[in-house]
Symmetry: C2
Subunit: 207 residues, 2 copies
Amino acid sequence: MPRFKVPEVTVERLSIYLRAIKNLEGDEILSSQELADLVGTSDGQVRKDLAYFGEFGVPGQGYRIAKLKQEIRHILGLDSTWGIAIVGIGNLGAALLTYPGFKREEFEIRAAFDRDESKIEKVWRGIKVQHVDKIPKVLSERQIKIGVITTPATSAQEVADKLAKGGVKGILNFAPVRISVPKEIRLKNVDLSMQLETLSYFLRKLT
Amino acid sequence: MPRFKVPEVTVERLSIYLRAIKNLEGDEILSSQELADLVGTSDGQVRKDLAYFGEFGVPGQGYRIAKLKQEIRHILGLDSTWGIAIVGIGNLGAALLTYPGFKREEFEIRAAFDRDESKIEKVWRGIKVQHVDKIPKVLSERQIKIGVITTPATSAQEVADKLAKGGVKGILNFAPVRISVPKEIRLKNVDLSMQLETLSYFLRKLT
C-alpha cells in the first residue's frame, strides 16, 4: 500500500486503466506508452500513477496484463464484494438499480429504500423497496457498507444520517446538495453535469 | 487558448475548481493553496492546471475570484448556451431530463427522443418526447450540438449514427457499450460505476 497520500484523480485513472485493459490477453506485456495511448494520457502519467503502489512492472518492458489487472483490482479493493444500498427510488435510483455497471461481482445492490408508500414493497430486479426508516437495521443485517443517495436535495441530509447510523463506510451522493457526514465516512459527490462541462471544453476548441 | 494539448483530467479539474468557487465573493483573492485545499488537490496541481491557459493570476498572491470564474467559464465554453438532446427516455433519460445540473443557462435541453410509441408525445418539464427517426431533422432545426445517449446498449450505435446525421459536435454516451462516431465528433463515455470504484479504493484503506 502507498506510503504517500494518493490523489483522487490517480485513483480514478486506475479505474480507467482497468477498464481499458479488461478485454486484453493476460499473457501479453503492455508498455506504459501503450497503456497511455489506450486511455489518452501520457507515458509519464501512467508510470507516475502506478509508482504510488510499488513496482509491479517488467523492468524495461512494461506490465504483464494479467498481473496489472490483478494489482489494480487489488488496489481498488475490487477483489472482494461491496454491499450497496440505494436510497431514493425515483428515476435516477431506478436507473442505478438496473444499471449494468452496478451489478457486478464487486458491487452487489442488497437493499433499496424510499419514503413514498406507493413505491414500498415494489420489486426491482429482485430488490424489494423498503421504507427509509428501516435503513439502520437493514444495513447492519445485510453488511451494507456503501450507501448511494438519489433522493431530492431536501431529503439528502436526513438519509445520510440514517446511512451513518446503519454503519456505512462510504456514501455516493447524487443529490445536488452539500451534505455532511461523520469524518470516518468517505463521501463522494457525483455531479453528472461535470461530464457536460468537459465535453463543452472540447467542442469549444473545434468551433 | 493553450499551445499544448490539455489532458482531459485537467479539464475535469477546471470544472471542479469552478464548482468550488461558485459561491465565493468575487472581490476576494484566492491563493493556489487555498483553491487546492477547497478541492483536495495540491498547490502545484492547481498552478499547473491553470498555467495551460496563460497567466490570469495576481502575481505573488493568487487569483481574483470573479476573474477566475470568468476565465474558467470561458475556457470551458460555458459563456454560451449549448443545445442538448437526450435520446432514450427510460429511467436514466428521465432522470437527466429533470436533473438540476442539466438545466442551467449553459446547457439547454431542447429535445428528447425514444422509439417506444408509448413514450412519444409525453411531456417532461416542457420537453415533448419525439420518435428517434426525427433526430436528424429536429437537431438541425433546433441548433442542437450535444447528444446524450441513455438507451440500452443495443440501440446506442444506431442512435449515435442519427445524432451524427443531425450534426452534433459531441456525444455523451451513458449506454454501457463502445460506439464509434465520425472523427470530427467528440465522444465521451460515462461509466457511473467508476464512481463506485473510486469510493471502493478509499474505503479499502480504512478497513
